[in-house]
Subunit: 414 residues, 2 copies
């Protein structure tokens, strides 16, 4: 395991910070004085890389002048590596550029964080086996829990990119059609079973060509970085709508991501094997190197931790998911966001959704002095995640969202 | 029914042209001399509206200078109406601007046509009842053909925008996982059951806000125009992958659209009622005015017509689909493309897919001197559509694509 790389920046050598020099994640920030721009988190500061590039400090030109990271993402792995090495050198202990760089550091406490990249399209996978078994048992019964294709295909569906929002954005409770089992007809109103899904998101940097599948190795090289991802879900809408074409409005109202893109390079020391294959994979999906990362993940509701799990619980890696995504000839683009699917561990206190933790709402969980089956208006849900190094951590920052009451819209229920 | 509006442009008053003055559809074209730009079809000519705007002839500024229609689409219904009225005046018989406009007309035969707008996201609905019954019978048996939600919800799923291509683009046969019923495990290779879906696509002009549903009347006003849409489908991939989260790679490899956006204004005289409701709709979906259009549609394979149907066969209108799409609070954006779902009539010669025409491949159809169960390499599939006026028609042009052999990629099948 690698050791802490010391930095001259305040807070960056603190073993509890998410943002040591080993991390250098990419976000978009603004302050009262500065319009939204690209920044790199270091300790409790943000390096204004737009100004750093303009000052000739980054070795790049016009790659981080937009208030999104897409231009750098599209530039490919060699440019990513050069940029990361250069930012690392600027911020390392003993850097000769310290005096030029210091004025470009902004206190994180003064900054507002924005969506770090333009989301081209959003796809959500279903690659956590315990989650698939849990949900399958509840929706279809234990005998049909894991669909027959599940051990062969990284099952996924296209989600909605227009409602991917950055952590801190309030989420309005969705309205929609639901049908109680005993009811003769559906009704329309606010979701009563609003839930989270604890996921990670892989972000595509370099694109692929329509009509040309990619190998797992090519897919791995296309991935720019990762975020935490909360795939908010309205379980009552989902149960009524999802047959035969999959989730639609139950997932379309919001997806929250953490504000910092943690690069594949920063996570490389924490690469981890997935679980054993239960059946052999088709050759196009075989991955020869460890495709997951050892990332500790947790869910908080209103400040109380209600679940802890790890990215290693996934059955398919992001590179395998991306390979399958492109396998038909589907063109992948810079800014595509691929949710891993809910990451549930083996026991209820490691499940990644309230649906699972409360077993469909039947066994509410304790949250401080209160209990919850599903999310109530005013509740704040927060995901956290980090990889643990030797005296340092590579963290994601929080992925947080508070639920606002449903909009007034056709209030009657039938 | 409205009558032909006479134009001074060659061919525009021909009763067989798709592009009389009544139509004025929007495309993007290039010639040897002209880079890609916005154009309006009129008879067998294209009006170079980029140059027309620059010359002060259109009454707009910087709305059609990009080689996409998105800026005008985002400008809203009042601007759309003003622009259409102005273009109509320029091209009408007796126009005082004829001498200024004539040099801006390009022969359609000299032009290459491009995708007319940037597709923000692509959603595909399932709003044809005969199609849903046919496919449901084949995939799930006659007793479960129409899902219980179908008469209440315009069922839809998110598709893939990165592979929406303009008519004339060759389509590579997709590869993917399939599993024969008797096989112990799936295999990987070229699709053997490649199909079309005859659809129309509605294009969102003005956006909606995240967290705010829209009414059917608001949704109707948001729709900029329509295209023909072929939702290419790999039935063998689809059958194996689609449970439980819906179609994914079976549809992700390509979607073709016709090159001309026919505006809602041009189609208004052809508005038509949909079928009777079999059960009452929830109030948010009730549409008080005719939401469909009387548009004759056909499918050709290698120049032979194999099916004829009409947009009136849809059970849900595009405005109802858009309303449902936004109902959860899902933000809709300029450039969103909403496929209607396959439009099948009551009999096999009016079905909108080969899957239905050949009943799952069991009864191949005659195509000239040959027969087909599904599409073979080299086959060209073409959709056509038009609304019939009194001595004129409002047509879409062709939506055509030829199938190329599958890519070389992991040729072994297991």
């Amino acid at each position: 395991m690698t050791r802490l790389r010391p930095s001259w920046v305040a807070g960056a050598n603190d073993p509890e910070t998410d943002f040591p020099l080993n991390n250098l994640p990419y976000g978009v920030f603004s302050t009262k004085a500065l319009s939204p721009r690209c920044g790199v988190a270091i300790g409790d500061r943000i390096l204004d890389v737009a100004r750093a590039e303009a000052a000739g400090l980054t070795g790049t030109r016009d790659l981080v002048q937009a208030a999104k990271w897409n231009p750098l993402m599209a530039a490919g792995p060699e440019v990513w590596a050069g940029f990361r090495a250069r930012i690392g050198a600027l911020l390392a202990e003993g850097s000769p550029e310290r005096e030029a760089v210091a004025p470009l550091l902004v206190p994180m406490a003064d900054a507002a964080l924005h969506l770090p990249f333009d989301v081209a399209e959003y796809t959500d996978f279903y690659a956590g086996k315990q989650h698939a078994i849990n949900v399958g048992t509840m929706f279809r019964g234990p005998e049909n829990a894991l669909p027959p294709n599940w051990l062969h295909i990284p099952i996924g569906y296209n989600g909605r990119a227009s409602t991917v929002v950055v952590s801190g954005t309030d989420i309005r409770r969705p309205v929609g059609q639901t049908k109680a089992k005993e009811a003769a007809a559906p009704s329309f109103g606010p979701s009563q079973r609003l839930d989270i899904e604890l996921e990670m998101g892989a972000i595509v940097g370099t694109p692929s060509t329509m009509g040309q599948p990619v190998t797992v190795a090519e897919a791995r090289a296309m991935i720019f970085g990762y975020v935490l991802l909360n795939d908010w879900s309205a379980r009552d809408l989902q149960a009524w709508e999802y047959q035969p074409l999959g989730p639609f409005q139950a997932k379309a109202f919001a997806t929250s991501i953490s504000p910092w893109i943690v690069t594949a390079a920063a996570l490389a020391p924490f690469a981890a094997e997935g679980p054993e294959r239960e059946v052999p994979l088709l050759r196009y999906l075989v991955e020869d190197t460890p495709g997951l990362y050892d990332i500790a993940l947790s869910v908080e509701m209103n400040g109380q931790t209600i679940s802890r799990t790890n990215m290693r619980e996934l059955y398919y890696s992001p590179a395998q998911q991306l390979t399958h995504h492109a396998s038909s000839g589907c063109a992948m683009r810079t800014g595509d966001l691929l949710g891993t699917g809910t990451i549930s561990g083996p026991a209820p206190d490691s499940y990644g959704s309230l649906l699972e933790m409360t077993w469909g709402g039947q066994t509410p969980i304790r949250v401080g002095a209160e209990t919850r089956a599903f999310i109530e208006d005013g509740d704040t849900l927060t995901l956290r995640g980090h990889a643990q190094g030797d005296g340092f951590r590579v963290g994601f920052g929080a992925c947080s969202g508070r639920i606002l009451p449903a909009p007034d819209f056709f209030k009657e229920t039938t």
